[in-house]
């Protein structure tokens, strides 16, 4: 269970974040909002990757479903936010449960391919179902409740929702369920021997990941006042995967750090050059060749070396 120092550290971080709008910079508020949303998105994926050891290459699907569903319910059907947001999250979770049912029958590369295929199906539907999703023009002009229409209001709303989401994921990942997932990651056969229904557990992890991915997507759509089919494309799934890996998969907060670093880097790079893909490619090469355990892993190694000398 959470140690006192974790709780205090988290409370301080939330408080510090709550102070950001006081600086008076619209830019800082927007950037922080984006980082928080991506942090939740990356964290949701890590339930599958870091904890269960299943690499999903189609996580953008649930992000997009959450985002589109929330946008459509708010705008087309005029639902209040208090209904639309939970409904969108539940829908993303339900779709993840259905997709997951088929995906967890496979493992490793086959699993990754199947998640990718389902995600591309979601992309295809968003692309072609023009009457509902707006097709390749995107779904724009989301009707926002007055309370969170202003960017500062939306910042605090995001802060509360993301903090609650991260807290929930923390509890899930550190519960008996989370530990069982780690057991499956470490040795799925042995976990099976001691009576764990591994397929069932992986299915549950898939559903949890999709649900929270949907929540991040809903926040993202409202923040941008629109959802676009690129948000469901496989490059988006790859990007969030890179966030998770950059931070480090074997640590709870790794993906949060990865999301923050990558998103800030992207924002700054885009100000100077149109060649963000090259920068991202080079980052990825560094991760793959020398930093497989991410920034957190690097920090741990540096710390261990310091302790020795």
């Amino acid at each position: 269970m959470p140690q006192r120092r974790h709780l205090i550290a988290s409370a301080i971080i939330v408080l510090l974040l709550a102070l950001v709008p006081l600086a008076g910079s619209r830019y800082a508020v927007d950037l922080t909002t984006e980082v928080m949303i991506y942090a939740l998105f990356a964290l949701s994926l890590n339930v599958l990757i870091g904890f269960t050891g299943n690499i999903s290459f189609g996580h953008a699907a649930y992000f997009a479903i959450g985002g589109y569903a929330c946008a459509i319910l708010l705008t087309t059907y005029g639902w209040p936010l208090a209904l639309a947001l939970p409904a969108a999250v539940v829908l993303a979770g339900l779709v993840a449960a259905v997709v997951g049912y088929f995906c967890v029958r496979l493992t490793q590369i086959y699993f990754a391919m199947l998640t990718l295929a389902f995600a591309m199906l979601v992309w295809g539907v968003a692309f072609k179902w023009k009457e509902v999703t707006g097709g390749d023009d995107g779904f724009t002009g989301i009707k926002m409740p007055a309370m969170i229409a202003h960017h500062v209001g939306y910042f605090y709303f995001t802060l509360i929702v993301v903090a609650a989401g991260i807290a929930a994921l923390w509890v899930i990942c550190h519960s008996a369920f989370g530990l069982t997932l780690v057991a499956i990651r470490e040795n799925s056969q042995r976990a099976g021997f001691i009576g764990v229904d591994t397929r069932h557990m992986r299915w549950a992890a898939f559903t949890v990941a999709g649900t929270f991915g949907g929540l991040a997507g809903a926040l993202f759509g409202m923040y941008h006042r629109g959802m676009y089919i690129e948000n469901a494309f496989w490059t988006e799934s790859a990007q969030v995967l890179i966030m998770v890996l950059l931070g480090g998969i074997y640590s709870f907060i790794g993906p949060i750090i990865g999301a923050a670093v990558l998103h800030l880097l992207q924002t700054f790079t885009n100000q100077y050059t149109p060649y963000w893909p090259t920068v991202l490619g080079l980052i990825l090469l560094v991760i793959v060749m020398v930093l497989p355990d991410g920034l957190i892993g690097l920090a741990r190694r540096v710390k261990a070396r310091r302790g020795r000398s």
Binding site: I109, M113, L116, A117, V125, T235, T278, L285
Partner: protein
């Protein structure tokens, strides 16, 4: 649908299938031996098409010189990439290899933008292949007919090399037990390098041969890589004839989908794949995974 229409569509579907098979077979070969899913395969295809454009249109060389140039260039790029970088990753997790190839996609997409810009290009049919063959009730375009010949030729050639030659035996052995093969004195790293080179050259050839059929635009790599995934997954990862079957299914579904359900032709292949996977999780000719 009249007989003429049906024949014409079936024929176009077949030509598309054969073009796709050439590309997908390279991806499949690489996966079969190296166990690496190469996301950059679509990029190699795009480079193949663009190189053909440069050689055949800008420099004015014959079309088939462009095809050859594409094959050689992509083989060379792949060889260098494999020798310098990829070979260090075989012992790491699949995820790392997957991400490595994704890094290649990102770097090459910017490189393509720098070299060719973002304009749309087209490569005309090679001389003597722009016409059609009259069968009485239907006219079949010559270039598509040519594709329908080349595809099966490549399939048979691959089957012959892999199943009937000594080198093919070595390649098949490499998929079974690397260590044992190395201890028998075979230079396994070079086998891997050769397979990656040949597989990538096939993507280059596939792109070069597709160039007269399609518009060359940035982003064409993303579409094709997904379609190749669909094909090899339907057929069964690592199985060459599976890819052939997968390509046929894909070609017909897309071609008839375009005619019968024009708004949904892009989604239909995914539906096809999901149906196959739900019934046979390892593809039509694939075998259940072993503990790799």
């Amino acid at each position: 649908m009249t007989l003429t229409m049906f024949t014409l569509n079936a024929f176009y579907g077949l030509a598309l299938a054969m073009n796709m098979f050439i590309i997908a077979s390279g991806l499949n070969l690489i996966f079969g031996v190296l166990r690496v899913i190469n996301f950059a395969h679509g990029m190699f295809y795009m480079f193949g098409a663009y190189i053909t454009f440069t050689v055949a249109k800008t420099w004015g060389a014959p079309f088939f010189v462009g095809v050859l140039a594409a094959a050689v260039a992509l083989g060379l790029i792949a060889f260098v990439v494999e020798r310098l970088l990829l070979r260090h990753l075989y012992d790491k997790e699949h995820l790392m290899q997957l991400l490595f190839t994704f890094a290649l996609v990102l770097l090459m997409s910017d490189a393509a933008k720098m070299i060719w810009g973002t304009d749309q290009y087209s490569v005309g049919y090679p001389p003597g292949m722009g016409g059609a063959v009259n069968l009485g009730f239907v006219m079949l375009p010559q270039y598509q007919l040519f594709l329908c010949v080349v595809g099966p030729l490549i399939a048979v050639a691959m089957w012959f090399v892999v199943d009937r030659t000594r080198w093919g035996r070595v390649v098949r052995a490499a998929t079974q037990d690397r260590e044992m093969l190395a201890s028998l004195g075979v230079n396994v790293p070079m086998v891997y390098a050769a397979v990656f080179t040949i597989g990538s050259a096939l993507a280059g050839v596939g792109g070069a041969l597709a160039a007269p059929r399609i518009a060359l635009v940035p982003g064409m790599d993303a579409t094709i890589i997904n379609e190749c995934f669909i094909i090899v997954i339907i057929g069964g990862l690592g199985n060459m004839w599976g890819s052939f079957l997968g390509a046929l299914a894909f070609g017909f579904v897309v071609q008839f989908g375009t005619v019968l359900a024009p708004n949904w032709q892009d989604v239909l292949p995914y539906v096809l794949m999901l149906v196959v996977l739900i019934i046979r999780p390892w593809g039509l000719l694939g075998r259940p995974e072993t503990g790799h």
